[in-house]
Symmetry: none
Subunit: 221 residues, 4 copies
């Protein structure tokens, strides 16, 4: 009966809000910029969001949720894998990293916003939570790897998880600002090579070392 709700309205507003927030941060974003960019009225904004902060929260929470489900899609850490499948495991991890960073690239706008804590004082906790979440995810994997004999038994998983997730975090921060997407596959091969050594157990290194010591042998044809 009534004028049907523009089904694009909220989406348009969210997209506009996203870009304005990315550009100016939460505090310096003007609602009028958002509505202007969306081609909507100021009233329309408040039809869909309770406040500027609310819109911001929706955007970031959506991202975090999608990011979380991205992390959770990780192949489960089944016990008893042992060291045999290590090479395959490493390959699987690389693949998952590529996937996640593909996602990061796709959402590099908001991702950057998130990594910068919304450029506001009020939502700093968001990035902290997000950082902690990914650190814990990393730590869980590391602890499992230690139990499975894949990682060094004396690994300080607490610190290592910080180092690892910090490394990924920075790579993400770097990528998010680029104009062109880097070659993710190559990147994570390098990264694994760079980081694995410090983490791998001696047994695993018996296997992986040759690959690293003579990288050309992999390419020999």
């Amino acid at each position: 009966m009534s004028r049907p709700a523009d089904p694009h309205a909220k989406i348009d507003l969210l997209r506009a809000a996203e870009s304005v927030f990315v550009e100016h941060g939460l505090d310096n974003a003007r609602v009028e910029d958002i509505t202007g960019r969306a081609g909507k009225s100021k009233g329309a904004f408040y039809l869909h969001f309770g406040s500027k902060e609310d819109a911001f929260r929706q955007i970031v929470e959506t991202l975090i949720a999608r990011m979380a489900s991205c992390l959770d899609d990780t192949p489960p850490l089944v016990d008893g894998v042992g060291t045999q499948g290590a090479v395959e495991l490493l390959a699987a991890w690389r693949e998952r990293d590529v996937e996640i960073f593909e996602f990061v690239w796709q959402n590099r706008g908001v991702m950057r916003l998130l990594l910068e804590g919304g450029k506001s004082a009020a939502f700093g906790y968001l990035i902290d939570e997000f950082a902690e979440r990914s650190r814990v995810h990393t730590m869980r994997t590391l602890a499992w790897g230690v139990r499975e004999g894949i990682f060094r038994a004396d690994l300080d998983v607490e610190l290592a998880s910080l180092v690892l997730s910090g490394a990924y975090d920075r790579v993400a921060r770097d990528m998010v600002k680029r104009q062109r997407k880097p070659d993710l596959t190559k990147m994570f091969e390098q990264m694994q090579r760079t980081l694995m050594y410090g983490l791998a157990s001696p047994a695993i290194r018996e296997i992986t070392d040759p690959l690293v010591k003579n990288p050309r042998s992999r390419r020999s044809r």
Copy 2:
């Protein structure tokens, strides 16, 4: 232009501004909060700073400058060191890391502010610059290490520098929020052990591995 009469005033204002910025971020800090905390008048503030942003810039630039000089105090990378002094070198690096993070701890307030981009959109470039600066510093060291045969010849110094400085960055972000200072010496020993493996050249690892593999010596073989 003329030298302000009360040199104490500016210092008081800077200290107050620092604490207010740390608490509320650039955008949400009110000049009145700053002057109130400093026990100065608003006029005095504008006598010393052109604007709120200006005060912020001065604070952060000072920090960055001090941080930079902290990094530059690093023992120079003299060519021709070779692999003999590797153990000493690693120890020296650890020591320098401890020093730098001691500094970070001392300045954890502003440091945290810096790491959060001032909680504002306008100064995101500051932290980017800072991150880039420390990455370049790392990269220079890595490149030197590769030339000296300390690090793997096939190391992707670009990526490795990202990973390394990211790891340090995250450790810093973590520390900056703590109530109690962690045991830095122990921390960087662990960190070196965690990271070095991925970076070290085979030749170096002949030397460093035993140090790391010690734990294995406790195992039967």
Copy 3:
């Protein structure tokens, strides 16, 4: 112009508007509150009323009109009644007062709104008009009473009408806020006794005094 299809709609809206206006006053009432309470759409509201103010005016005007017809139901002031029927007259007036205040009680919500000028600046004239109307009514009766020799010949009818209608006004304002309806019959007996003395002519007082002085008869003389 054309007859609205759903005659119920307007009634529902008026009832809802009434309760919302009573609760929040004209200015603080939101059209959406009214339509929500009526279970109608905002469009429907503007189908029946030109504006929020219009709805308000309709409600208050209706009340005033009904109030006026209530007053006009008063037995006409036929000249030549003389002082004989004074007692009956007083009883009739009391009865009419009870009736009017019964009406006030029934409509205490809007009545209160009216007595508060709609809690808005725009309709203050409404209550003024209403007050003036009831004062004039009172004054007419007083003038008639003076002519008939029922009230003191030297009565300042202008002032007395103000005093009288003010007294009634305040009693109404008081009642309108009560939870329970007071005993109106008893109330107006008291009121008459309180006010009549000051108004009555000596001749009338010869008659009415004994009625009032009864209590004294219980005292020794």
Copy 4:
């Protein structure tokens, strides 16, 4: 040292606010109207008042306080006066009434605002409180008068106080809208004559009645 505060600023703003509030009521008054009328900036307003409501409250509370002290200046109700001094007492009351209404006339702007509940929903309690306060004052006097034998023993002081304060209230409401100040002395003589009869005890009426019945006798000389 600093620019000295304009000592007139707050007063100017209060005067302007008063007139704007009187004209438009609390809700429809625009802060900009007030500041414009006062020749001050919007900021200046918030330098002196926390909010529009705050300014309103200050104005009304000040009035109520002054009004209250006006009422309290009433000669105390000393017991044991008896009926001898009745005439003098009545004269004293008239005098006090004149004084109070002189005050009302002086402050007819805000007074009118107060009597209209600020033309807002939020401050209706103000007028209620004020009305109740003056009713209680009246009631206290009536009760005292009954004890002293000045008023009828069977007086319903509760209702009579309502009637009396209502009468005064309406007279005030009427005066407050006039262009010219009425002759207060004459007015309260009339009012006393109108109301006293209904209240006075028989004993008192022995004294006062002659004055009323033959008003000319007082003027005969």
